[in-house]
């Protein structure tokens, strides 16, 4: 954008091929569409069109032989979907297992992150010495790039030279010997802990901002009426945080459910007990190069997320209408 070259007031050409005089002084009705156009093109190119292509791919026998020439892949109808949901086959069994693991991880991570975030936000509401330091410190995990934070956890979870075993077994004597954390059943604990560590600061940040919008005289009025800390939390804070919570819980849910980065950096190949669905589909696609089947699984995942999201938002609307 060479603002020094073009005279002020002239819009840089946003629409390729449009005559110059139209761009220089667009009619008022046209201007907003021109302004929105670049964003529209970008979203169409990277999100919408690939999604439609993905839906088409899920109907093809798109195996490794057709990657470079996928239009030649034979049409398979709903075969891929049948394979993905046929509970007698190994593919569907693994997919359903991965789905259930992902649900369990998501429920725990969302609940814990929200509780931690609320606790920190409530307890940091009143000024005291060191409050600013804590507030900044709590935001650091959210600001760290995912892969550096998670690789640090990967190091901490190492069996022989990691910090977790040193702390739990050698210092606190809570565990016997040195258990594996990145293999077997403990990997479930590991993925939950790391996700909570990364996400609760976001809940904290959002709830802290939400608390600031609650007028202080409400608390004073409640205190004069004799309401204690717990009562004020239940009767003033939580009801007034509802609009914030509605969005926050949905965002936490979508982020955890769709998570690829954390599981991928923590395990590279996640064990069965931490087999998050995104990475399961990734492996099903890239290890076997069966993109058709992988796309069918992705479409099923999107359908599930759509149903949950719309149901959640619809239920919220109903409840607020009755309230």
């Amino acid at each position: 954008m060479s603002r020094t070259v073009t005279a002020p007031g002239e819009a840089p050409s946003r629409a390729p091929g449009a005559p110059a005089h139209r761009v220089r002084r667009p009619r008022r009705a046209l201007l907003p569409y021109l302004l929105v156009l670049p964003a529209l093109i970008a979203e169409l190119a990277i999100h919408v069109i690939p999604m439609l292509v993905g839906a088409w791919m899920s109907l093809l026998h798109l195996t490794q032989f057709f990657i470079r020439n996928w239009t030649a892949a034979p049409y398979g109808g709903l075969t891929n979907y049948r394979v993905a949901v046929d509970t007698n086959g190994p593919v569907a069994k693994d997919l359903i297992h991965s789905f259930l693991i992902t649900v369990a991880v998501t429920v725990l991570v969302v609940a814990l992150s929200w509780m931690f975030g609320l606790a920190a936000a409530v307890f940091l509401e009143k000024p005291f010495r060191g409050r600013g330091v804590l507030r900044t410190l709590f935001l650091v995990p959210y600001a760290l790039p995912v892969f550096t934070a998670v690789i640090t956890w990967r190091f901490m979870f190492q069996r022989d030279n990691g910090m977790v075993n040193a702390l739990l077994s050698d210092e606190l004597h809570l565990a016997h010997g040195h258990p594996f954390w990145l293999l077997g059943g403990n990997s479930f604990v590991a993925i939950v802990v790391v996700n909570v560590w990364r996400l609760w600061p976001f809940a904290f940040l959002t709830l802290m901002a939400g608390l600031q919008s609650i007028p202080g005289d409400l608390y004073e009025a409640a205190a004069i009426d004799g309401a204690g800390f717990a009562r004020r939390l239940r009767s003033v804070t939580l009801p007034l945080l509802r609009p914030v919570n509605r969005v926050l819980l949905l965002v936490l849910f979508l982020w955890t459910f769709n998570d690829f980065n954390t599981a991928y950096v923590l395990f590279e190949q996640p064990p069965a007990d931490a087999d998050m669905i995104s990475i399961h589909i990734y492996n099903a696609s890239f290890l076997t190069w069966n993109f058709g089947l992988g796309s069918a699984m992705s479409v099923l995942l999107l359908a599930f997320l759509l149903v949950v999201t719309l149901g959640y938002l619809g239920a919220g609307r109903l409840r607020s209408r009755h309230a």
């Binding site: 979203e43 993905g54 935001l139 690789i151 190091f155 993109f291």
Partner: protein
């Protein structure tokens, strides 16, 4: 309002536990980055046997970290600049004009945030491979492909934030500019942008963080020459030996700029976050 001692104790306990939970990994990262190699290969100790800065020197040779750094900087920088410029134009249109499809557009933009990345990774991979085949434009394995992809990742949230900031700027300023004979573009660049500058910088930081930390698309859409830090950091291991001290040193250097940037501008981000949350 006096608080009971039970509440005071609950606060101390909760905040202490959360602090320990938050700090432990940060401590491990910092302390391991100044440990000699045999310290990080043996049992974990809280205090290094001796402090060394060698990991910060060696990390550039074990892995071509410099090249990955430049790749990450170029990709994240370009994606940030593009997405902020696009978000400014879009935010201006959404904030200042009532046009048909405005609400649908904003909802559609935001709903792309819920798509699982894996859903459009496979088609995008195929589309890039086939664009190369038919037009000779290399997107797969190139920085350009990654830049285009990343700029759309930050875009939805950036548009919402910037439109929110523009909404807080009084329309009287626009009116005054119009009376002075300024067109819509001049008003945007000379009147609105200067006022919204802190918000725009916060959005830029957000966009940069998004691109800087992305792993999934980077691991599929890059090749040996264009690899970014997110992928390159995994290369500090060979034959079962991991240079954990260098991994931690590199992680520290990679993290520091974005953490500082984020913390410096967090209040502008918080403002935008709640504006968005309350609106929807």
């Amino acid at each position: 309002m006096r608080e009971s001692s039970a509440v005071r104790w609950a606060r101390r306990v909760v905040l202490t536990l959360l602090t320990v939970f938050t700090v432990l990994p940060l401590y491990v990262m910092v302390v391991s980055s100044v440990k000699p190699l045999r310290d990080v290969q043996g049992a974990f100790h809280w205090i290094p046997t001796h402090v060394t800065v060698r990991p910060f020197v060696d990390m550039w040779h074990t892995v071509p970290l410099g090249r990955y750094f430049i790749n990450s900087l170029v990709v994240s920088g370009c994606a940030t600049v593009c997405s902020v410029i696009i978000a400014i134009f879009t935010g201006y249109a959404v904030s200042r004009y009532r046009f048909a499809g405005r609400g649908t557009f904003m909802t559609a933009v935001l709903s792309t945030q819920m798509f699982p990345g894996i859903l459009f990774l496979l088609p995008l991979f195929l589309i890039f491979v086939n664009i190369d085949r038919y037009t000779g434009i290399t997107l797969y394995g190139s920085r350009l492909g990654l830049i285009i992809t990343y700029l759309t990742f930050a875009l939805p949230f950036s548009i919402w934030l910037i439109a929110g900031y523009f909404d807080t700027i009084p329309r009287e300023l626009d009116e005054a500019a119009r009376v002075d004979g300024a067109g819509p573009m001049r008003t945007l660049f000379r009147v609105i942008l200067p006022v919204a500058a802190p918000g725009v910088v916060a959005v830029a930081i957000y966009a940069f963080m998004t691109a800087w930390g992305e792993v999934l698309f980077a691991s599929v859409l890059t090749d040996h020459a264009t690899r970014t830090l997110a992928v390159g950091l995994r290369e500090y291991s060979n034959q079962g030996q991991v240079y954990w001290n260098e991994v931690m040193a590199a992680s520290l250097v990679i993290s520091l700029p974005v953490v500082v940037g984020f913390l410096a501008l967090q209040r502008f981000l918080v403002h935008g976050l709640t504006a968005g949350a309350v609106k929807s």
